[in-house]
């Protein structure tokens, strides 16, 4: 293996992807280390999926350098893909086949012998909590089940890196939690996870380290906690007023918080102590429709860095 123990599993330097005049990924540097759970956080169109497709060796980079498992995706694509597991944004299951058949045919793509594939499929369906549906055709299954099957299928070759492009987008809350639980187990088993998401709670749950992307660039990097500490305050006071334009209330709250953000439907007051800020509001005689103290999230980090919300 050309990969030395200290080298990252994924190393990108000045990575660029353009489609005609449009620059999807605009010179990013990324290192992902073994056993790490790494996230790309950003809104739609930030360049996350384009980056994932380049790492998955199905999309040739336009510029910069990219090495995966110590190999060059341009010339060693099949060898790299043999050791990746890919969960694409849109499920690519064969909906006419059964759950177990999907894993069987996929295992054969990797050249795994038939008995190995059968045994792996049984284990993986157990892991994905799909054993009882093994003989069901895929088409009528729920979104959450299909997603779990896609993840189970991606593990058939015991990959060194699992790539997940928006693993829980479009799922209901319960299905998301089941999926997170499964991914958390993989992480504990030492599988290197690389995922994209535009949900901050997902990034906070799953990622040891993440980069925040916007317009094809990386605007911040670190652990979720470090990013919040660096770019936000400990707590946030959210105030809603009965008004069309919340800018009008900026003067009222002047001096109460370290920083104030104006959203169309509320004011966000960034402060280390939300309750003190709340009492100060009451003392000044300001009467908002609602007032809520919460902890800072990555959403606040993103808002601070880009001036926009993540999910619009």
């Amino acid at each position: 293996m050309p990969l030395s123990p200290s080298e990252p599993l994924i190393r990108a330097r000045g990575l660029v992807k353009t489609f005609g005049d449009f620059t999807a990924v605009d010179g990013i540097d990324v290192d992902v280390h073994p056993g790490e759970s790494f996230g790309f956080l950003g809104p739609n169109g930030a360049g996350k999926s384009s980056t994932m497709r380049m790492i998955g060796c199905v999309s040739p980079p336009t510029g910069g350098s990219l090495r995966i498992l110590g190999m060059d995706p341009g010339t060693q694509g099949p060898a790299i893909r043999a050791r990746l597991g890919v969960v694409p944004q849109r499920d690519s299951l064969d909906e006419e086949l059964t759950v177990e058949e999907n894993i069987w045919v996929y295992g054969r793509y990797f050249g795994l012998p038939r008995p190995v594939v059968r045994e792996r499929a049984a284990e993986l369906l157990e892991f994905a909590q799909l054993s009882e549906r093994a003989r069901s055709v895929v088409e009528p299954l729920s979104g959450g089940m299909k997603r779990r099957l896609t993840i189970a299928r991606a593990l058939v070759n015991t990959p060194q890196i699992l790539l997940l492009d928006e693993p829980t987008t479009g799922l209901d809350p319960q299905a998301r939690h089941v999926l997170w639980d499964r991914l958390f187990r993989l992480k504990r088993e030492g599988v290197t996870l690389v995922l994209t998401t535009h949900y901050m709670d997902e990034a906070e749950q799953l990622c040891d380290r993440l980069v925040v992307m916007d317009h094809g660039r990386i605007v911040a990097e670190g652990s979720p906690r470090a990013l919040i500490a660096e770019h936000s305050t400990r707590e946030v006071l959210e105030l809603r007023f009965d008004t069309h334009d919340h800018t009008a209330h900026l003067a009222d709250v002047d001096g109460i918080a370290d920083r104030v953000e104006v959203l169309p439907d509320r004011l966000l007051l960034y402060t280390p102590d939300g309750e003190s800020a709340q009492s100060e509001i009451a003392r000044r005689g300001i009467e908002p429709l609602s007032s809520l103290v919460r902890r800072s999230t990555l959403e606040d980090v993103f808002l601070h860095l880009t001036g926009r919300t993540l999910v619009d």
Partner: protein, 271 residues
């Protein structure tokens, strides 16, 4: 998970993946769900065609003109129908399934996320189509022979020749379908390419009946070459050279279509 399993897994992964064989296995597994109904269709359609065209229409032709080229019309038309229906099955297997695997149920995306290469995806599916088309041609031939329309033992070779004709067209169909944005293009192709070609490539009447300017068009189509070769073999009038020329022409289409398909699919999927 079990460590001995991981050792086997590891060794297998050092190979370059499952190759086109894995893709063919996938398509065969899909086919297992529908084979009964396709078997019924592929035996009913030759029966209907041979009864309707060969025997019904043939009675008029034979009464009026004394057959075609000295043989009863049903004997004349059977090898033409063999080649034309084989080509239609081949086209049917490389249109919706190709576009669908890109757009509706994106299974090509799944394949290309593994060690498989674009050429494995194309070749594997064409190998499946080859098996599918061969079985349809055999069924057709057996029924045609049972109706007494095969005049020579050389006629057995009409099966591989008609399959070659079907595959020559299928490989180009694959490239065409892989380039489509929606299924309208498939309808158009069946209406304005497959149908006219089936009618005017010597299937139902010799192309000498066509207006002079249309005959060269028929010579270009793969179907005319398949029909000519099949008919000569079935009637026992074939010359080795003639059949080889037709087959060589079809082989050019087959290889050209395959190369084009790989190129088009790569352009569509690897971006």
């Amino acid at each position: 998970m079990a460590s001995d399993l991981e050792v086997t897994t590891d060794r297998a992964q050092r190979l370059a993946g499952g190759g086109w064989q894995a893709v063919a296995v996938h398509w065969l597994r899909k086919y297992r769900r529908v084979w009964v109904s396709t078997l019924i269709t592929s035996s009913l359609s030759p029966l209907l065609y041979l009864a309707g065209m060969g025997i019904g229409l043939g009675m008029l032709v034979d009464r009026g003109a004394g057959g075609v080229g000295g043989v009863p019309y049903v004997v004349f038309v059977a090898p033409g129908l063999l080649a034309a229906s084989t080509l239609q099955v081949a086209a049917g297997e490389t249109t919706f399934s190709v576009l669908g695997s890109i757009k509706w149920t994106p299974i090509y995306h799944g394949m290309l996320a593994t060690p498989l290469r674009v050429r494995d995806v194309v070749l594997g599916q064409l190998v499946y189509v080859l098996l599918r088309v061969t079985s349809a041609a055999i069924v057709f031939f057996v029924i045609a022979a049972a109706l007494g329309t095969v005049r020579s033992w050389w006629g057995l070779l009409a099966v591989p020749v008609s399959v070659l004709g079907g595959m020559a067209f299928a490989s180009c169909c694959f490239a065409y379908s892989a380039n489509l944005r929606n299924d309208q293009g498939i309808m158009l192709m069946f209406r304005f390419v497959v149908m006219p070609m089936s009618l005017f490539s010597g299937t139902f009447f010799p192309i000498e009946q066509l207006p002079g300017w249309l005959q060269p068009v028929a010579w270009v189509t793969p179907l005319w070459h398949a029909v000519e070769a099949c008919r000569a073999l079935v009637l026992g009038t074939a010359t080795v050279g003639g059949v080889l020329v037709h087959c060589a022409y079809l082989a050019v289409w087959l290889v050209g279509g395959y190369l084009l398909s790989v190129r088009v699919l790569r352009g569509r999927m690897v971006v």
